[in-house]
């Protein structure tokens, strides 16, 4: 149980917490923080596994990879926060709507079509349908690869499904 292994396990723990967080939490700011937690976890694993090189000098390649990863993560986070700010300004909400529900479609770029509530309901059922089907398919072969895949997809649906029903105008302001 060297130092590297301990920190690698801690990195995996962060990966799990972040993954659970991004699926379960509905507020977008939580999701963005969860993304950062996942990336910190992965970077910790990357450097921790490299800590066990022969001789005292640590292996510089994973450090360079993590440096690049941190800069990529900060740019993705900054873009996501910009998107969130803009989304809040346009809709007054900070939660993603049901994937199928919000499909008024844009006629031409720049036409900021108002997101009319009555359109939201009729598109909602399509997505619910595949959520159940997705979970139904319990592939077994590859170490539960399918479950992980379906679960991730199934609960992303649930995650959004749940809040959409509760999301009637709760926006960011009420608590």
């Amino acid at each position: 149980m060297t130092t590297g292994t301990l920190y690698a396990l801690c990195g995996l723990g962060l990966f799990g917490i972040g993954l659970g967080g991004i699926i379960l939490r509905t507020h977008l700011l939580h999701k963005i923080i969860a993304t950062n937690v996942i990336s910190s976890g992965v970077f910790l694993v990357l450097v921790a596994l490299a800590d066990r090189t022969r001789g005292g000098r640590p292996d510089p390649v994973p450090h360079a990879m993590v440096l690049t990863g941190i800069v990529v993560a900060i740019s993705a986070t900054a873009l996501a926060l910009g998107l969130l700010r803009r989304f809040y300004r346009e809709t007054g909400r900070c939660r993603l709507p049901e994937p199928g529900s919000l499909a008024p479609g844009s006629l031409a770029p720049g036409s900021l079509e108002r997101w009319s509530p009555e359109r939201r309901s009729e598109g909602g059922d399509a997505e619910k349908g595949n959520a159940e089907k997705g979970n139904g398919e319990k592939g077994n072969a590859e170490k539960g690869n399918a479950e992980k895949g379906n679960a991730e997809k199934g609960n992303a649906e649930k995650g959004n499904g749940g809040e959409a029903s509760g999301g009637k105008g709760d926006g960011c302001r009420t608590w």
Binding site: L24, H30, L44, V47, P58, H63, A78
Partner: protein, 403 residues
């Protein structure tokens, strides 16, 4: 100045091979209990902070916890012999991420002064949460077993890097990997930053003024009046930027007299910024220069410069960065242009793409790092501002962005 200060308590037999100061062998044997306790504390605090950050419903608390999480990560990097990563984590975590998150929170919770924002309940019914935690748990469990089975000694590339270190033009192995051996990765990474700015600019397209509001403290006042006009959907599309121009009407200036002046006219803040901003430029230059032989380089230096610009914008000091529209774009891509220029010059000189001639390697690496640092800083500022560096000068702003 101090004789053999290390007393006999060091159990580790330090073989005094030639080793640059930055990477002296660990003095304390890895088996001594104190290091175990330190590692245990770091790992426990990291996991605890991450859990709390995502569990709490108050968003401001989540952000503060995340800022402290960045601090603990920097200490974990320090403990894992990764000073370069610790430096970047410190510069970006403390300087950039915190301000970005807080500015977004400021926009989101403009209605309530306290800024405490509820994250809303967990997704939905308990069975789904149970299912997700179960599956994520089993995924992490399987991966933990895999990590546990990893051979103790991993065949890293440190020997290969050490062998070619002299030809790389820098004595810091991480900078050598970043800017010489795998320079192509860093080139693509600067393109990632450019794409992020483009994406932010596209989204801020019709909201240019809006993004400006998010810049200073006026965000709270400006968006405040909109809240009272009732729920969002009914008031029609937001894309015109008219109301953004005039400053929010405060609830009668006199109502404020007994309270201290608002922050932006606060002498302490302005004095502090005038004092710290030059120090930041000096430190950024120092970090950039030392990148050659010790941890440092373009990324931390760029992040420190960006943090300085945030301070200037936050304090709305007179010397806010003022860039013409054209100038802003050139600074954003300066790093890329120099990198591509060097790469193509090597091609023209019948060498491979980005294959630096050994004598010129040090100079080229430093040149690329310097310009990349400026570009990274400009990019982070543009991302904070919603894709644009241009700042419609409200007041005449004189001094240039950077000396």
């Amino acid at each position: 100045m101090r004789g053999g200060r290390k007393t006999a308590d060091r159990t580790e037999n330090t073989d005094e091979g030639i080793r640059s100061k930055a990477y002296s062998h660990r003095e304390v044997s890895t088996m001594s209990p104190v290091l175990w306790i330190l590692d245990a504390l770091f790992c426990a605090s990291l996991l605890g902070l991450a859990w709390q950050t995502l569990r709490t419903r108050d968003l401001f608390k989540a952000i503060v916890l995340y800022i402290v999480f960045g601090l603990m990560m920097a200490m974990a990097w320090a403990r894992l012999d990764a000073p370069d990563v610790a430096l970047v984590e410190a510069a970006i975590g403390a300087g950039v991420t915190g301000v970005l998150l807080l500015s977004t929170l400021g926009t989101l919770s403009a209605a309530r002064g306290e800024g405490s924002q509820r994250g809303g309940a967990f997704a939905s019914a308990v069975p789904v949460a149970g299912l997700v935690t179960g599956l994520v748990g089993c995924l992490v469990g399987v991966l933990a077993v895999a990590v546990w089975q990893l051979p103790v000694e991993s065949p890293g590339l440190s020997a290969a890097v050490e062998a070619r270190q002299e030809e790389s033009g820098t004595s810091n192995p991480v900078t050598a990997v970043l800017l010489n051996f795998r320079a192509y990765d860093t080139l693509l990474e600067l393109t990632v930053l450019l794409l992020a700015v483009l994406g932010a600019e596209v989204l801020a397209g019709s909201e240019a003024a809006g993004s400006e509001a998010a810049e200073g403290g006026v965000a709270a006042q400006e968006t405040a009046p909109r809240q009272e006009t009732g729920p969002r959907q009914e008031t029609g599309p937001r894309q015109e930027t008219g109301p953004r121009q005039e400053t929010g009407t405060r609830q009668g200036p006199d109502a404020q007299q007994e309270r201290p002046p608002a922050a932006d006219r606060d002498p302490v803040l302005r004095g502090f910024v005038r004092l710290v901003a030059p120090a930041m430029i000096v430190v950024a230059g120092y970090v950039l220069w030392i990148g050659g032989e010790a941890p440092g380089g373009a990324f931390p230096s760029g992040a420190v410069l960006a943090a300085m610009s945030f301070l200037l914008m936050l304090a709305r000091a007179e010397e806010g960065p003022r860039l013409s529209r054209r100038g802003g774009r050139w600074i954003l891509v300066a790093g890329l242009i120099v990198f591509w220029g060097v790469g193509i010059a090597m091609l023209a000189a019948e060498r491979r793409f980005l294959e630096y001639p050994v004598p010129a390697a040090k100079g080229l690496v430093l040149l690329i790092e310097a310009v990349a640092a400026v570009s990274i800083a400009a990019t982070l500022v543009a991302l904070y501002r919603g894709g644009r560096l241009v700042r419609r000068p409200r007041r005449t702003v004189d001094s240039e962005f950077r000396s």
